[in-house]
């Protein structure tokens, strides 16, 4: 049988350990780990940027050292990203978006230490699980990968999409409509079937679709920052738990939930091994799985440590999985694996069947690298967690602008185009309003990351097999599980019907922001539905199906909002304060603006928006890097009213860090600015204008 290994696996594994555990190679592994952690922490920078950065240096390195440094980096970016997710509610890399749902509320409660402890522990155990799974499955890797075809992938994606129902919590219609927004956004760009340019509005930027990083930053980071700045309070206002103690509590939490951790690590490694299903999907599937299978989930989305464990164990396990198709077939399992594959070729390592027989030493060196890197990465994080947790209590007038400037720098790494800024701010505005009116955002990001895949796999499956794709055994099983997952809660709900005392009289409710928002989204769906009609039939099928569904959901929602007083909304009406609106339970972070009047919220939101637009204007004038630094200086000194001493003490080191990291190390090609146009010599000499 193909892929059967007669070489003694364990001998090879020990040989590989001997290879890796040489001081020089371990040193390079450690270098990779430190870089990986830093890159993970900074939003917008992920394994892809990190590895692209490393490749030139690995060129002249010994092969195993090169693999060690690269795997070291790739394995721990998902450990580092936990920090940003927990402390700021911003995904450090796209793989940790689900971590914020519970990690961030925990930090707000003063449990940052616990969330980080749980996150790091789940990360390292997940990572080790992925490595172990890779280790034992070497003999059957190829046959397993060959089992998964486009129909199976389609079924898996549909299963992922079905989690929208779970992630919507109590706001089902809002969640479904949000998922439709995500799906619709995913249809942007050149349609592969017809070459039709959908929603590109004459720009080249949108031609190849919408990049995920600015969308994720816009959807989660911008609203979080806006609310922090509106609130003007530190992220963590009361420290209920000593950070060090909390950290150990987090470790204990993981062991108390070891089966959840194992299940999610399995999901991570399994889905990670399927090319096309990347980090942007996996954490949500794991989170949805946890929310669906665990008991007493009422605190999910409000700081339940199990949410952090689910997301973090899955995203670290995925790199082990992603290696599977990379080494067995030369097909990258993730974007970072594509670069690793490039490094293979540079180092004359040929992926394919040989990696599972003659070159098992290389394969096992990779496995060991993942394992050691995960332990090392989590160890470093644990050591720093105490200090890190304190960041949450830093004055927001200082922290806010730093994070905002990093977010701008990070978003620009997507396509290195002005479009990245517009996209992030546009989605940010949408995200902020969604947060205000209680629309859950996770379904939107899930719809977005799965939308393109579903359309593709559907067309491939139908073109290739017509409707026979439905009858493949694996497809039937996955679809059955999907349907069971959707139907079971409905049936349960019906059985347990407790008729709440509801107002049964129908009348016309006063127009509220919720209604205006729903109406706007309805209008967008309607316009998109109409516009899609001008394309070739094949290009319009999916967008029209999505917008059609969106129209149904939003019109139902509008009907309810206009004519039927939902009990969940009643408390919100008729008060001027923002105190404690009883919202439907959704799996998303909410913000209550305790003690602020609507007027205050509104005016501070406008000030925040003005700062964002100001940043754009400044970028156009003096370039992105200078803007990031000037903005920090001006904001901290004048908006936050800090002393010049504090302002400079923050701005100077952060500025040097930005310059060193983005300009010198990553060698970012900066957007052109007015100053650079006026003085071209500055552009050629300094490169930052």
């Amino acid at each position: 049988m193909e892929g059967v290994v007669d070489v003694n696996m364990f001998d090879m594994a020990i040989k590989a350990a001997g290879i890796l555990f040489e001081p020089e190679r371990l040193f390079f592994l450690a270098v990779g780990v430190v870089l990986g952690l830093i890159i993970g922490v900074i939003p917008g920078l992920g394994g892809l940027v990190g590895l692209a950065l490393l490749i030139p240096f690995t060129f002249d390195m010994d092969t195993y050292a090169a693999l060690a440094v690269m795997m070291g980096l790739a394995s721990v970016t998902m450990t580092g990203d936990t920090i940003t997710a927990v402390l700021f509610g911003i995904p450090g890399t796209i793989s940790s978006a689900a971590t914020i749902l519970d990690g961030y509320p925990m930090a707000k409660r003063g449990e940052a230490g616990r969330a980080l402890g749980a996150g790091f522990t789940a990360s390292v155990l997940g990572g080790l699980f992925g490595a172990a799974l890779l280790f034992i499955s070497v003999p059957v890797l190829r046959p397993i990968v060959l089992l998964v075809g486009s129909p199976e992938l389609l079924a898996i994606c549909l299963f992922g999409l079905s989690l929208v129902a779970v992630l919507s919590g109590g706001a089902v219609l809002q969640g479904l409509a949000a998922a439709c927004i995500g799906l619709l956004v995913a249809t942007t760009g050149e349609d592969v079937q017809t070459g039709e340019l959908r929603w590109t509005f004459g720009t080249l930027y949108l031609w190849e679709g919408i990049p995920v990083v600015p969308v994720a930053l816009g959807l989660f980071a911008i609203p979080e920052l806006a609310d922090l700045i509106i609130n003007r309070k530190p992220i963590s206002q009361d420290s209920t738990m000593d950070a060090r103690k909390g950290q150990w509590q987090g470790v204990r939490d993981v062991f108390q939930n070891k089966f959840l951790m194992l299940r999610c690590a399995f999901i991570g490694a399994g889905l990670g091994s399927i090319p096309g299903i990347g980090g942007s999907v996996i954490d949500w599937v794991a989170y949805g799985h946890a929310a669906r299978t665990e008991k007493n989930v009422e605190n999910f989305g409000r700081g339940d440590v199990r949410g952090v464990i689910a997301s973090e164990s899955s995203n670290n396990a995925k790199e082990g999985g992603a290696l599977v198709p990379t080494i067995a077939f030369g097909v990258p399992g993730s974007a970072s694996m594509a670069l690793l594959l490039g490094a293979f070729i540079l180092h004359n390592i040929v992926p394919g069947p040989d990696m599972l027989t003659k070159r098992l030493d290389v394969t096992y060196t990779l496995v060991w690298s993942i394992a050691v890197a995960n332990i090392l990465g989590a160890g470093i994080c644990f050591m720093c967690a105490n200090q890190l947790a304190k960041i949450a209590s830093v004055r927001i007038g200082i922290l806010g602008p730093i994070v905002l400037s990093v977010v701008f720098l990070g978003a620009y790494q997507a396509n290195r185009d002005w479009g990245d800024f517009y996209l992030m701010l546009g989605v940010g505005l949408l995200g902020w309003f969604m947060k205000r009116v209680g629309w859950p955002r996770p379904p939107m990001i899930l719809g977005f990351v799965l939308g393109g895949l579903i359309e593709n796999y559907m067309f491939i499956s139908v073109q290739r097999y017509d409707w026979d794709w439905l009858y493949q055994p694996a497809v039937l099983v996955i679809l059955a599980v999907t349907i069971y997952g959707i139907v079971r809660p409905l049936v349960r709900g019906l059985k347990r019907v407790e008729r709440p005392v509801r107002r049964t009289t129908f009348g016309i409710n006063p127009i509220t922001p919720d209604i205006v928002f729903s109406a706007l989204i309805f209008a967008v769906f309607a316009a998109a539905f109409y516009h899609a009609g001008s394309w070739e039939f094949v290009a319009q099928v999916v967008p029209r199906a999505i917008t059609g569904a969106g129209l149904v959901f939003t019109s139902l929602l509008l009907g309810l909002q206009l004519f039927y007083a939902l009990p969940t909304r009643e408390a919100e009406r008729g008060t001027d304060s923002n105190e404690g609106p009883v919202k439907a339970r959704i799996f998303d972070i909410t913000e209550d603006f305790e003690g602020l009047t609507r007027q205050q919220v509104r005016s501070r939101a406008l000030v925040f928006a003005a700062w964002c637009l100001g940043i754009l204007g400044l970028i156009a004038m003096i370039g992105l890097l200078c803007t990031a630094i000037v903005f920090l200086l001006v904001y901290i000194r004048f908006q936050s009213g800090e002393s010049w001493r504090t302002t400079l003490a923050v701005t100077v080191p952060v500025g040097i860090l930005y310059w060193g990291l983005f300009d010198q190390l990553i060698d970012v090609h900066w957007p052109y600015s007015l100053v650079g146009n006026l003085f071209p010599i500055l552009r050629t000499e300094l490169g930052i204008f």
Partner: protein
């Protein structure tokens, strides 16, 4: 003139002072310029693909052979089917000698067929050199394919994987179906060549049309144990990686077929090319042309390529200009036919 602007910001004034101190770059000789400045190579592709890989292999030889031994840095600008980088190089890139780009081979073709999004005039670019042709090959998986020769493929349906309508993975079979009577069925939507290769091994599709060097570099097991057959390639000239494999041009029976096949083959012959923006200083261009050709012919570089089962068949800037001219001066009839193959509405 600059006084008003200087007053705008303290920052600008500091930098402007630096500007006054440093001499204008263009006036320098190429050697002096490259000994002080780095050479930035933009790629109309993402960092993870074969374009970056080839430049990385070439990088140190360029530093060695270009006068002044410049430091080389690589930048990546994918998007718009390669047109984003071409538009940028034409309209916005600095023209001081420090910035060049690797464009996609289809940029001249895109201009000729008036594809949407073209905002450049290919004739005004300056051509440095090409590593060699990038020939696409129709490769078939023997175990699953119902046919392995062109004659059989005219009778039986062979299913090919494709990334999308405007990609070579689709254009090549469409061209053959239209002009040679083959019966390829194209399944579109794969996210890159890797997933197509996997789909082939899995039996989902029977083969694919795409870059041949990729098979040698990434999937060498394809070449063993009679697993695959190279049926025909899309190149203009014979390819050392595919001895004995016919060109699609060899299969042309009518002048019309020859003309259309030739039009697409010219792009393949352009291959992995290094291009400078219009207005690039002539002395710097000459220095780069010489440096690139020497680097591409360096025995050590060739040895590096050979180890990775790749080859270089360097094409000079002059030859590239000829190839571009052939594409741009194609007859309106050929253009109309090419537009049809490419699925552009006439």
């Amino acid at each position: 003139m600059s006084r008003g602007s200087l007053a705008l910001s303290g920052l600008a004034s500091v930098i402007a002072l630096t500007a006054v101190v440093s001499a204008p770059a263009v006036a320098q000789s190429a050697e002096k310029y490259y000994s002080k400045n780095k050479l930035v190579i933009f790629h109309a592709a993402s960092a993870k693909g074969s374009y970056g890989l080839h430049s990385r292999l070439l990088q140190k030889y360029l530093t060695k052979h270009i006068v002044g031994n410049p430091k080389i840095t690589l930048q990546f600008m994918p998007g718009g089917g390669g047109k984003k980088a071409a538009n940028w190089l034409y309209n916005l890139a600095p023209k001081d000698g420090g910035t060049i780009a690797v464009l996609l081979k289809t940029m001249a073709e895109a201009q000729a067929v008036r594809a949407p999004g073209v905002r450049y005039d290919m004739r005004k670019f300056k051509y440095i050199a090409s590593v060699g042709p990038m020939n696409s090959v129709l490769a078939i998986w023997n175990k699953t394919s119902p046919a392995t020769t062109i004659e059989e493929m005219k009778k039986k349906v062979v299913i090919l994987g494709s990334t999308g309508k405007t990609s070579v993975t689709n254009i090549c079979p469409q061209l053959m179906n239209r002009y040679l009577g083959t019966k390829f069925k194209v399944v579109m939507g794969y996210k890159g060549m890797g997933p197509i290769m996997l789909a082939i091994e899995r039996g989902e599709v029977h083969g694919r049309c795409g870059d041949v060097a990729g098979i040698y570099g990434g999937y060498p097991h394809w070449l063993k144990n009679n697993l695959s057959t190279f049926v025909v390639h899309m190149g203009l000239n014979d390819d050392p990686l595919m001895p004995g494999v016919p060109r699609v041009l060899d299969l042309a029976e009518t002048p019309e077929q020859k003309e259309v096949f030739g039009f697409f083959a010219a792009s393949a012959a352009i291959g992995r090319w290094y291009v400078a923006p219009p207005g690039f200083p002539a002395s710097h261009l000459a220095a780069l042309q010489k440096g690139f050709m020497t680097a591409l012919n360096d025995p050590d570089y060739r040895e590096d390529l050979k180890k990775r089962k790749q080859v270089a068949v360097p094409v000079t800037g002059k030859e590239l200009r000829k190839l571009v001219e052939v594409t741009l001066t194609a007859s309106p009839g050929t253009i109309a036919k090419a537009r049809k193959v490419l699925g552009l509405k006439n």
